[in-house]
């Protein structure tokens, strides 16, 4: 069992654990914190998967952006004076059954599929290559994504404003 394996299990545990906290804790603020750690865990997983650029992006955007956004959402929508930051759950029993079923299906599929694995497992820095691809082969999706972001920005501002 080499270092990578150990690291994987550590990150996996961190991720799953934090996600569990996020899902099962009744307090929304706690959920948010749980999500924060789950994102960190996923970033670690990316590193193990030789995706250094993605890992950085994960931390920058998810942790630095989305999570902050979510917290703002919590804060703005819950009057903090008479805090009811608790979240309730519903239709628990059917949910457990169905989600359990989905998980079972997924795991079954994963284990029963004969993956055609590629041979080499070299570690190479990816940032430069991704940058090059973004500006060449993926230029159009890149541009569209920018437009999408812009549109989302304006749209969000428009929707959220008080009339």
């Amino acid at each position: 069992m080499d270092f990578t394996n150990i690291a994987f299990y550590i990150f996996a545990a961190l991720t799953v654990g934090s996600a569990g906290v996020m899902v099962f804790h009744r307090n929304v603020v706690y959920s948010a914190v749980g999500l924060l750690f789950a994102f960190f865990g996923v970033a670690g997983i990316y590193v193990l998967l030789a995706a250094d650029f993605i890992a950085i992006v994960q931390i920058l955007i998810y942790v630095g952006g989305i999570l902050i956004l979510l917290l703002f959402g919590v804060m703005l929508s819950q009057k903090l004076t008479k805090v009811d930051v608790r979240t309730e759950s519903m239709q628990l029993v059917p949910a457990v059954v169905v989600v359990g079923g989905v998980l079972a299906v997924l795991l079954l599929t994963i284990s029963s599929t004969p993956w055609k694995l590629a041979g080499s497992l070299e570690y190479e820095p990816t940032t430069k290559a991704i940058g090059r691809l973004m500006m060449t082969e993926y230029l159009i999706p890149f541009e569209i994504a920018s437009v999408l972001l812009l549109a989302a920005l304006i749209g969000a501002a428009y929707i959220a404003r008080k009339n």
């Binding site: 519903m90 239709q91 059917p94 949910a95 169905v98 989600v99 079923g101 989905v102 299906v105």
Partner: protein
Amino acid sequence: MITNAILILLLPLAAFVVQISFGKRLPRKGDWLSTGAMFIALFMALSILVDAISTYESNKVLAAQTWEWFSFGSVHVTFGIVIDNLTAFMLFVVTLISALVHLYSIGYMHGDPRYSRYFAYLGLFSFSMLGLVLVDNFLGIYVFWELVGLSSYLLIGFWFEKDSASNAGKKAFITNRIGDVGMFAAIMILFSTFGTFDFDGVFAGVAAGGLSDGWLTAAGILLFFGAIGKSAQFPLHVWLPDAMEGPTPVSALIHAATMVAAGVYMVGRTFVLYSADALFFIAVIGTITAFMAATIAIVQKDIKRVLAYSTISQLGYMMVGLGTGGYTAGLMHLTTHAMFKALLFLGSGSVIHAVHSQEMDDMGGLRKKMPITFWTFLIATLALSGVPPLSGFFSKDAILASALEYGMRHSGQMWIFVIMLLSAGITAFYMFRLVYMTFFGEPADKKKYDHAHESPLTMTLPLMILAVFSIGTFSWGWFEHLISKPSLAAYGAVAAVAEHGGGHDDVAHTAHTIAMISSIVVALSGILLATTVYYWKKISAETWGSRLKPLYNLLWNKYYFDELYAATIISGTLWKSRFLAMFDLRVIDGVVNGVGRLTAGLSNVSGKVDLRVVDGLVNLVGRIVAYAGARLRTLQTGNVQSYLLMALFAVIILFVIQQF
């Protein structure tokens, strides 16, 4: 010369177009423009006439030209102009009277709200009339024939606010149309036989015997129907007296001098076409017309109506002239009559202008107030009565001679001459009755008399010019030389059709002498009688009128023609049209709607069946669905998350199914 002719034709048309488009905006509303155009045309026509007279050849074709109008592939329809001596005379007469009437109208129509419109219509008429005399084929003559009818309609109904005027216009147009249909039928016969509209082509075909006698007579009589309508011959004469509703200069131009003579001109132009039977028919119609109209004129009180019936009567004379073979006599009477009858109408217009009434009972003694009008009027009256040596004497005498000659050649046909002679006497009588009642005696209406005055120069100048032409310009010989009776032989070998009429032989000479003497006698006795009754008052017209009450009523009511037509043709047509309209609505449409209702009824029955049986089943299905829906709607929570859950559940089920 062709260019001149085209210019003569186009000048009035141009005047019409200009006047109708912006006549109102021209200075003096453009009367000078129309009048000027007409006078230019007059001088051009004069030059053509001078050419014709100086050439001095019988029936000489001075110029002719033909253009293709349109073509059907094998059939080419042409439009052409032909100028022979007859055309030259007609051009001169039409342009002269038209120009004078234009001039006269400047005074007469002064201040009318539709002044420029009036001149526009005059231009349209002059154009159509000139086209009618210039054109060289049947289709063309029919075209202009209808166009003069249109301008006549427009001018009769010029003061259309008066119901009588608009009625008269309509009556004129429709009555003319009846004749025109006959004319069109004749054209159909000729065209379908000879394949051409050209006069020359048709005449050549007739000369070659292309039509059997029966068809030729039919074509001739049908063609004459057009003239019956246009020249107000019996039995289609009823429109002309009513046409006096139009302005008086118009009556002079259209309903006395030119348009009504178009029928005579047309018969003259197509003279060689008529078979002996057709000519006899023409003569009979002419005789009836001449006599009937003359008798009616005796009792009329409206000055214009007397003149109108006189016109009808004189047109009858022309027809008799043509019908009895006196080709030259008929056409000469056309020319002379145009001059003095236009003069009479313009003179009566001058009187009407002065006293503002058309009733002769309102007039009297006007001789002193209106000397120019009186003297010119008297000249015209003498001419019309046939007093030598005025122009009317020569032409009327020629017609009577022709009628007499006809009677001498055809046994049993002397009655035509007798009646015509009688009518000549009546003519002299009613004309002098008119003159005495208008210009002599005591003024009937003092106020109107005091108000009366001589007309302005624009009105009297035309009177004087026409008086000159009425006096004695025409004598027999040279006119006959220029316009002599055409012969079918000129158009090819005469086959089966016999030549009709006759030349100058002893019979003709005898006839001439007898006719001349008797006509002078009759005219003078007519004048004498009129003088006795209306000047010396030796015989009371009232007494004789009441003694002969039934006859008087008959004449006063114009032989009840209007009433007869109203009761038969007009109301018959109206009744038929109402009946058919009702028939259309109730019966034909009723059948359609009945079928519709039947179908609707059937569908009603099948609808009932449908409702109970078929629809019952449908409703059952509907109810089941509704019930199921009510049960199932509880699933529809509106909560997105539960939907998602269901979807996922379905995914799992699918997976399971897929696995096993």
